[in-house]
Symmetry: C2
């Protein structure tokens, strides 16, 4: 190896520019909080000095903590609890400890978590992003902090590596099954429109309905909470839905609650498609047919990309998607069979 | 206020003793890793200098992070997920952010978490302790780090403040109900004997059986996992148990699984007492009768004690217990009524 030549640090850039390290960092991340003229001057200076963002990353991580930070939007949502548990288990095999923060679907909380994790020297961050924190996440990446997004993506042309699930295969298989069994109309409980998962799943649901030629179905625009699932399921039942199709695991619990309170037996009086795997979904009297995201594989991929970033290598894949799958159990009524057998439709 | 006089720091003690800060810290914490003679010499020197542990705590926290650390043994256990969520919510109202680590019931992982949290400047720690980490936790407290134990206590005469639940009222009410309904014999799934919760609940169960004069019942010595609950419930059913009584929420899921696989309808073919509240426990076809620990109140008390410690005031109460309560739903069969009505006993 050739002798390593002088590598200027962010501190060098800041000192020569006569600004604070924080300002230099923001200017290099092209943060509009710094006046455009100042940004340009500092960027030019950094370029002249041969400064590279990684030099800062190296300085930041001069004493590696061997710890990664994980930010999820909820812990009472079993899907995210399973995700952080698998992230920790996978990271542990790579010699990395894991600390966790819960953003509670709140941008301010997430922003504070990102600051804490960064200033307390984690080696990298795996984050289920809140879209309001897009700029902060992009800045962190530009400053050399290894960041991987999991479960959700940022809108636009973000270059932050992602590990997400592809809802299409599972949703298409579910709609095909429901169309085949004539378990219609479907009442779909959509996730929130300010999450990529909410938008994509609704889009894939509508596309699947079009493909199956069952026409437009009932949709409730909801959110990732049990109470919202309960409210939506109750409304969709009132509107005549024969199948309740939940857009996430928390709304699946809300769907079970709504059926329970309405005295409807799932798999006998009403059909249900759940989302995600939960031990108690499979233990319903008519075990729930669900769309499975393979959360373990998602978590493993996110850690795999992050460890490559931490090692300073360019990850082999930066946008990875895991296909969803339909797990067919017993919560879908086959009305076609009933018709054939001369049984009433309900 | 009088002018504050010179307060020696741990660094001063270490320098004058000619040892490292780590050694001085351990000696003052009476850690046997330091030779007895050295410990005595350093303790004497600290006393001569007028060193007080709090001075170190103040130095450690000279720049308050307004962040607390929480260590729980599992996140897929809904009880602990609910606990950290409530701790975060309560801490947030007090202006404190929360970072979480999952010890995974492993002493080495907990030990690493304690080190990370301490060295990264959290203002205090709420911890579900692993008993193998007792000395480390005691040392931390002696060094002035605010620490509160939640859910579990340390054996012996630990002076670390605790917020735990008292299993006695809930368990006594459950056993009384089962005795009254003649839902016997009871098969009790005990938690592990290396946790205070496992020991206390089993003790209270045995005492309640003695009080109710129903004699010795069936006991399976288990652990806080669904798979262990499944195994234990299956064995207890084989041994003729008419009621399965779960010693925690994960084993409750294992009990539901065992009944499901055996084709037994809970509340009709077999009686079940669950532990803790989970939305899906209340949504079983015969909603589960459970023992509720009031996890929100537990979390709030733990934060309340911790904020007092962080503020430097002596907490008004350092050992707080929240009584458990029986939530009576529909999973207990009344065999006495059946007998009276001339119905068969099962």
């Amino acid at each position: 190896m050739a002798t390593e030549k002088f590598r200027p640090t962010l501190k060098d850039v800041a000192r020569q520019a006569g600004v604070s390290i924080a300002t230099a960092s923001r200017a290099l991340a092209d943060n509009p909080a710094v006046a455009a003229s100042t940004r340009e001057r500092i960027q030019q200076l950094a370029s002249d000095l041969g400064y590279r963002a990684n030099a800062q990353a190296r300085a930041l991580r001069s004493s590696r903590s061997n710890t990664i930070g994980v930010i999820v939007p909820s812990l009472i949502n079993h899907y995210f609890a399973a995700m952080v548990t698998e992230i920790q288990s996978t990271a542990s095999k790579a010699g990395l400890a894991t600390i966790i923060t819960n953003s509670n679907e709140d941008a301010t909380t997430m922003s504070g978590s990102l600051e804490f994790l960064t200033s307390h020297g984690v080696d990298g961050i795996i984050c289920v992003p809140n879209e309001e924190c897009a700029n902060q996440l992009e800045d962190l990446q530009k400053q050399g902090m290894p960041v991987v997004l999991v479960d959700r993506e940022l809108p636009g042309d973000s270059t932050i590596p992602t590990a997400t699930s592809n809802p299409q295969p599972g949703i298409a298989a579910a709609v095909e099954l429901l169309a085949h069994n004539n378990a219609l109309p479907i009442g779909y409980l959509s996730g929130p429109m300010d999450t990529s998962t909410g938008r994509e799943r609704l889009e894939d649901f509508k596309a699947a309905c079009a493909n199956s030629k069952i026409g437009e179905q009932l949709v409730f625009l909801g959110g990732y909470e049990q109470s919202v699932g309960f409210e939506g399921a109750t409304k969709l039942l009132d509107q005549g839905a024969k199948t309740l199709f939940a857009g996430d695991s928390m709304m699946t619990i809300g769907v079970i609650e709504a059926c329970h309170k309405a005295g409807l037996v799932i798999g006998k009086d009403v059909s249900v498609i759940g989302f995600d795997t939960h031990p108690l979904f499979a233990l319903q009297p008519h075990p729930l047919t669900v769309i499975d995201q393979n959360v373990e594989q998602l978590a493993q991929r996110a850690v795999s990309i992050l460890t490559e970033l931490i090692a300073g290598t360019v990850p082999s894949v930066t946008k990875t998607t895991i296909p969803t799958a339909l797990i067919h159990r017993e919560s879908i009524i086959n009305s076609t069979l009933r018709k054939k057998d001369g049984l009433p439709n309900e």
